[in-house]
């Protein structure tokens, strides 16, 4: 199981790029942190999610 934004998801072995596309995330609007490291957009296809990985996918919202 992979922790994605705090939730346990069974996507072990899935590429990060494939996961983001499948979930409808727009690459230009997000940033991704895997196990505390920021993953550059150009590397999404090369990264494979594995058990116990911790993924944070963030984007901008309104704020003051």
């Amino acid at each position: 199981m992979v922790s994605i934004n705090g939730k346990q998801v069974a996507v072990d072995g899935c590429s990060l790029q494939a996961y983001l596309e499948q979930e409808g995330f727009s690459k230009e609007h997000i940033a991704v942190e895997l196990n505390g490291q920021i993953i550059p957009r150009s590397c999404y296809a090369q990264v494979k999610l594995k058990a116990d990985d911790k993924l944070e996918i963030v984007r901008f919202v309104g704020g003051g």
Binding site: N5, I38, P40, F60, V61, G62
Partner: protein, 256 residues
């Protein structure tokens, strides 16, 4: 502080002295607010993304606007640095507003952690705008740490109380050679005008506009107030006196 018509932050030049917060908004009104405010800088927050949601706030902000991500949610310098890195990774530039709070009741910023985060992020090339509690020593430390401006609070966020910290903001304006951008707690255009008359470099406001009855009109009112205050400051304000000084001549009165 040098008198320039343009606001200069980290080498970037702006003609507007009004920074708009985008929180609490109906997204469809953001464009009108930005245009009526004449704002060139808009703050955003960074939060977890939700799958499948197509609507993104960046789609509602007019082209050419400088995005100022804040580090809201950070309780420590380390968390603020993490948020700043992720914000920069989204790809909207190098500006960051440091907001570090542990207390949620008053949302007062932690100056100590803010100085630490400023030190780290300024070294990494960010244009750092730290939100802080108006303390002269902290402001000096922030300047030494490489801040591009100082953002002292007028009153707690979202309270519309106005310039509760007026005396201490004036001290920063008088003593710190950096743009002083009054942020948080301003509830009325007249308060924004007053801060600009004091010599503030710019105003940031969010709640007062976002929760107004007529949002675009309030954005315009703030813009006019900020322009008026700046013009008044540059004109040289008259002295405040204890006793009267006649406006009409004291000679040549009509006889009986």
């Amino acid at each position: 502080m040098a008198q320039t018509e343009q606001l200069i932050l980290g080498g970037h030049t702006f003609s507007s002295r009004f920074i708009l917060g985008s929180g609490k908004y109906n997204v469809n009104l953001i464009k009108a607010a930005v245009e009526n405010a004449g704002a060139q800088i808009v703050t955003l927050a960074l939060r977890r993304a939700e799958a499948g949601k197509c609507e993104n706030i960046l789609d509602f902000i007019p082209k050419g606007i400088t995005v100022l991500p804040n580090t809201s949610g950070a309780r420590t310098a380390e968390e603020a640095v993490r948020i700043a890195h992720l914000s920069r990774e989204v790809g909207c530039g190098d500006f960051v507003k440091i907001e570090i709070m542990q207390d949620t009741k008053y949302l007062l910023p932690d100056n100590t952690e803010t100085i630490k985060a400023t030190t780290t992020l300024a070294k990494e090339g960010f244009v750092v705008l730290p939100y802080m509690y108006p303390d002269l020593y902290a402001a000096r430390a922030l300047k030494a740490a490489g801040a591009a401006a100082i953002m002292p609070l007028a009153a707690p966020i979202g309270t519309n109380q106005g310039l509760a910290t007026k005396t201490f903001i004036q001290i920063l304006i008088d003593e710190i050679d950096l743009p002083i951008i009054v942020d948080a707690g301003i509830g009325r255009p007249s308060q924004a005008c007053e801060a600009m008359e004091m010599g503030a470099a710019a105003i940031m406001a969010n709640t007062a506009i976002a929760t107004a009855g007529n949002l675009p009109l309030m954005a315009k009112a703030f813009r006019l107030a900020i322009e008026a205050g700046r013009a008044a400051y540059l004109s040289g304000l008259g002295k405040v006196r204890e006793t009267a000084s006649a406006s009409s001549p004291l000679t040549g009165f009509l006889g009986n």
